[in-house]
């Protein structure tokens, strides 16, 4: 998987004052609109910024700190400060590769560090703040981090050339050294670091021609692997601070419920229990260790004021949402042409469940609050928001607050929220010692900010050839964006995330109407970002429906899609590649084994997944094989790309097969991995990833596999059983063998045709 470099890239100098064009898509779109509306948004810069001096000073005042990302000492050590956070997606490796490529060092010569909280210094160009999410990190920093490396290299070369009295353009850089080949002289970065630190910032830099890349495009090992395989990486939960105590917390099980009273006599008498702390909606027991605190928590006699949602059930939520879907006021997101008066109409309703994140590392935060200082250790996707929350809750000014970000034991959107940190702050400010607040797995699932449930009505009018002449989409659900970044809501209050991947579809469809109906959940039931966000939800509906249309038209799902992609060569290419690699139609498959296709253009990438599944006569689903074809433009690290696609696909398949959060008596019913199941290795198919390599701008990766997983599976299940799944997760009861159902399946091979007619 090597980068194609056949087409020479421009080698003109880059003017550091112009704006970047970035491949948008996904969550990023909303924020680009935000930028367009004139609200100033913070973003990283390749050159030194006003806040950099203070940040560098706090960082030990390294000899050379040309921007917020690169610190080089006089001993030649190179430290790279990461603008985004590492939650498994390998962005510390990818960002290091971008910086190191231009700086002229190997990944074996650098160390990486978490950034301090600062929207100004570490704001993502696509999100306008220090936020890691929306598969935006590489898309947003691909250019600027290379420029940052080039700025540093330019200054180091200038310093060396000045010392040697030679023209800087005659110098080269390699593995932390500046060379002047004509005179045979070389100097390490450390020896010129102080001099380089005194030079003015360059206005222009030269970026490396892609054909000369030494790191970018190569499958390099992750920079964090060596520690992670030894258990030596410090996650938030591993933080140890002198004098620290551990709190285990329990919040009111119902949404918006409150703590009424606690009898803590028995708990306080237990060995190792130090304290019992109350806040409005939760109680925590503090212990010398987790076990004492948890035993103490279980010994409490707690009375909850279960509040207005005390009797809430999932069915009530579903019914109300279905009512909104039919009769609610919609916002038109896009309308092109009009619905033809004639033609066969196909209509379907799809429903998607609430989902929990269940990061492997349960939520936690360690906080030490004194009268004039607050120190926080937490793994978060939003460090600057944590700082804001701490200032608000402690009343301290931001310069009195230190946030130490940590490696995240999974994020998936859960750590885009600050609720658990706010709770920990409210608890920690009541005690005089550092407090590590830990959520049990049960607390983590019962108090998740769940992926919203959706109710979607989709319809199409087919022309004489069975092609859609019009399609209509009415999606209904809660809004994450409206709470999380209300200023990013679009025209008429449109949530762009809610209609992502449906306002623009890859296919040639002349007329369409896409509407969103906002349906807020009851107070306290707060919905959140979940890996793949709007794309994951919408691609399931659209790609399941495309499959329905193919079968209605009597066409093979591959041929049907191909015909509609003739004007979209990049996406047609991923479809063709996936079909070729899995051998679509080449060999007959056994009974109740079939393949499903799904494709889309989520997060600025193009992707096609084909899942091969077997459905047992009893309705159990076995994943046999998956092939993913991907066009993500220029690939920074092919190994990470493969890993993200494989992992993302499994995350989506796991949810489609097993996951649903349900509510009874106002509380989430699921609590741990026994009742919120997760895919395991024995259920995991071989997943091949094939990439189309080109020099297009990078697309997103972290959520692409997740977004395309469920429809590929559902389409495979339909082909194997004749049963269309209109709800997730997969209902095995619907899949018990029924020969009649198979009559509706159109298959690619003659042998399969025979089976369909059986």
């Amino acid at each position: 998987m090597k980068l194609k470099t056949g087409r020479p890239q421009t080698t003109d100098q880059i003017d550091l004052n112009r704006r970047h064009a970035i491949q948008s898509g996904g969550l990023a779109i909303a924020f680009l609109w935000l930028g367009g509306s004139g609200i100033a948004s913070a973003a990283i810069n390749a050159r030194r910024q006003p806040g950099d001096a203070a940040a560098a000073l706090a960082d030990g005042n390294p000899a050379f700190a040309p921007n917020a990302f690169i610190r080089i000492g006089t001993d030649g050590t190179v430290r790279l400060v990461m603008p985004t956070v590492e939650m498994g997606q390998a962005i510390y490796t990818g960002s290091s590769m971008l910086l190191a490529e231009e700086l002229g060092v190997g990944l074996d010569q650098i160390s990486v560090e978490h950034s301090p909280p600062s929207d100004d210094l570490y704001g993502m160009p696509l999100l306008g703040g220090q936020i890691t999410g929306g598969s935006t990190s590489t898309r947003g920093t691909w250019q600027v981090l290379r420029e940052a490396g080039a700025v540093a290299r330019t200054l180091l070369v200038t310093a060396a050339a000045t010392q040697w009295h030679v023209d800087p353009s005659t110098c080269t850089v390699d593995r932390g050294m500046v060379h002047h080949i004509p005179s045979g002289r070389s100097v390490g970065f450390g020896a010129v670091a102080s001099a380089a630190g005194q030079l003015p910032m360059p206005d222009k830099v030269q970026l490396t021609d892609p054909k000369d890349f030494k790191l970018i495009g190569k499958p390099l090992r992750r920079v964090d692997s060596a520690d992670k395989i030894k258990g030596a990486t410090q996650f938030g939960l591993d933080v140890r601070v002198p004098g620290m105590k551990i709190a285990v917390v329990k919040a009111c099980p119902t949404f918006d419920g409150k703590l009424a009273s606690v009898d803590d006599k028995a708990a306080r008498a237990m060995p190792g229990v130090v304290d019992v702390i109350r806040i409005a909606d939760a109680v925590a027991v503090v212990g010398d260790h987790f076990w004492a605190a948890k035993q103490g928590l279980e010994a409490l006699v707690i009375k909850w004021d279960r509040g207005e949602n005390a009797n809430l059930t999932t069915q009530q939520l579903r019914d109300a949402l279905a009512e909104s879907a039919l009769n609610g006021k919609s916002i038109v997101a896009r309308e092109v042409g009009s619905r033809p008066a004639d033609g066969k109409t196909v209509e379907s309703v799809y429903q998607l469940p609430m989902l929990a994140h269940a990061t492997m590392e349960p939520l936690n935060a360690t906080i030490f609050v004194t009268s004039d200082k607050c120190e926080i250790w937490v793994g978060t996707q939003v460090p600057a928001r944590v700082l804001d929350a701490a200032a608000k809750i402690t009343g301290l000014s931001k310069d009195k607050i230190i946030v130490h970000n940590q490696y995240l034991g999974g994020g998936f959107g859960r750590r885009l929220e600050t609720d658990s940190v706010e709770q920990a702050l409210a608890l920690a400010k009541q005690v005089s010692y550092p407090l590590k607040v830990v959520w049990t797995r049960e607390e983590d699932i019962r108090h998740d900010r769940v992926r919203p449930m959706y109710h979607d009505r989709i319809s199409a009018v087919l022309d004489a050839n069975g092609r859609p002449a019009w399609y209509g989409y009415r999606t209904s659900g809660g809004t994450v964006l409206g709470r999380w970044a209300p200023m990013a809501m679009g025209k008429d209050g449109l949530d762009s995330d809610a209609v992502e991947c449906v306002v623009e579809v890859p296919y040639e469809i002349p007329n369409l109407k896409v509407e969103w109906i906002r349906h807020d959940m009851p107070p306290g039931l707060i919905v959140g970002w979940w890996r793949g966000v709007g794309s994951t939800h919408n691609l399931f509906v659209v790609e399941s429906f495309m499959d329905e249309l193919a079968h209605h038209a009597g066409k093979d799902p591959l041929e049907y899609r191909r015909a509609l992609l003739q004007k979209n060569p990049r996406t047609l290419a991923v479809l063709n590649l996936a079909a070729e690699k899995i051998g679509w139609g080449a060999q007959p498959l056994p009974a109740r084994v079939a393949r499903g296709i799904a494709l889309g253009e989520p997060f600025g990438s193009r992707v096609c997944a084909i899942v091969e599944a077997e459905v047992t006569p009893q309705g159990e689903v076995r994943l046999r094989r998956a092939v993913v074809a991907l066009d993500c433009g220029i690939g920074v690290n092919p190994s990470s790309i493969e890993a993200q696609i494989q992992g993302g696909l499994l995350f989506g398949l796991s949810a489609a097969l097993y996951s649903e959060i349900t509510i009874k008596d106002g509380a989430i019913e699921q609590s741990n991995f026994n009742d919120y199941r997760n895919l395991r290795i024995n259920e995991t198919p071989l997943i091949e990833v094939h990439r189309i390599e080109n020099n297009e701008a990078p697309g997103g990766l972290g959520e692409v596999g997740t977004a395309i997983a469920a429809p590929a599976l559902a389409n495979a299940i339909f082909a194997a059983t004749g049963v269309r799944l209109y709800k997730l997760p997969v209902d095995r009861n619907l899949l018990v063998q029924d020969a009649n159902a198979l009559k509706h399946v159109v298959s690619a091979t003659a042998a399969d045709q025979g089976r369909s007619d059986a």
Partner: protein
């Protein structure tokens, strides 16, 4: 006071006998490599070895251990199977967030000690108690095979020691 043998060292700990080993390791002895994921032996993040056998430390009362030797992720690299597994994990570059990987590696090392050349079915059986939310299972399977056979696995796209690669 209980006496525990952890990674070849003796530790005296003043804890209740019903306290799970996980919290003794993490909050009393200070070995943070063994992870808390579920507390009910469902996810395997807390897997350690007792006399070479994989156990879930989150449900193992410390009072039941007696003189058995406890090995954690911090010392598994000192065993032949642990060393092989960790090297394969690096070569295949298995980890993503990495939180579950201590437990994955402990389960894999125990498997290879017991069965030096495991079949797919044996790998599934030995590893199905370890959840990875990042979905690194495809590479876990490849890394176990590579650790067992020394042969590079098909899906492996990692360059192990090029100039400029992380070591």
């Amino acid at each position: 006071m209980l006496s525990l043998s952890v990674n070849g060292e003796s530790h005296s700990v003043d804890v209740p006998a019903d306290m799970p080993l996980l919290w003794v390791l993490r909050d009393v002895i200070g070995l943070m490599g063994t992870k808390f994921g579920c507390g009910i032996a469902q996810c395997g993040a807390c897997t350690v070895h007792l006399d070479g056998q994989p156990v879930r430390a989150c449900v193992l009362p410390v009072g039941s251990i007696g003189s058995k030797a406890i090995t954690t992720i911090e010392a598994i690299g000192d065993t032949p199977s642990g060393q092989k597994v960790q090297q394969a994990w690096l070569d295949v570059d298995v980890v993503q967030c990495g939180y579950c990987q201590s437990g994955q590696i402990m389960s894999a090392a125990a498997l290879l000690k017991r069965s030096p050349n495991p079949s797919d079915a044996e790998i599934d059986a030995a590893m199905s108690g370890n959840i990875c939310r990042c979905g690194t299972y495809v590479r876990i399977r490849a890394a176990i095979k590579q650790a067992a056979t020394g042969k590079l696995e098909i899906l492996q796209t990692i360059v192990t020691s090029p100039e400029g690669a992380a070591s």
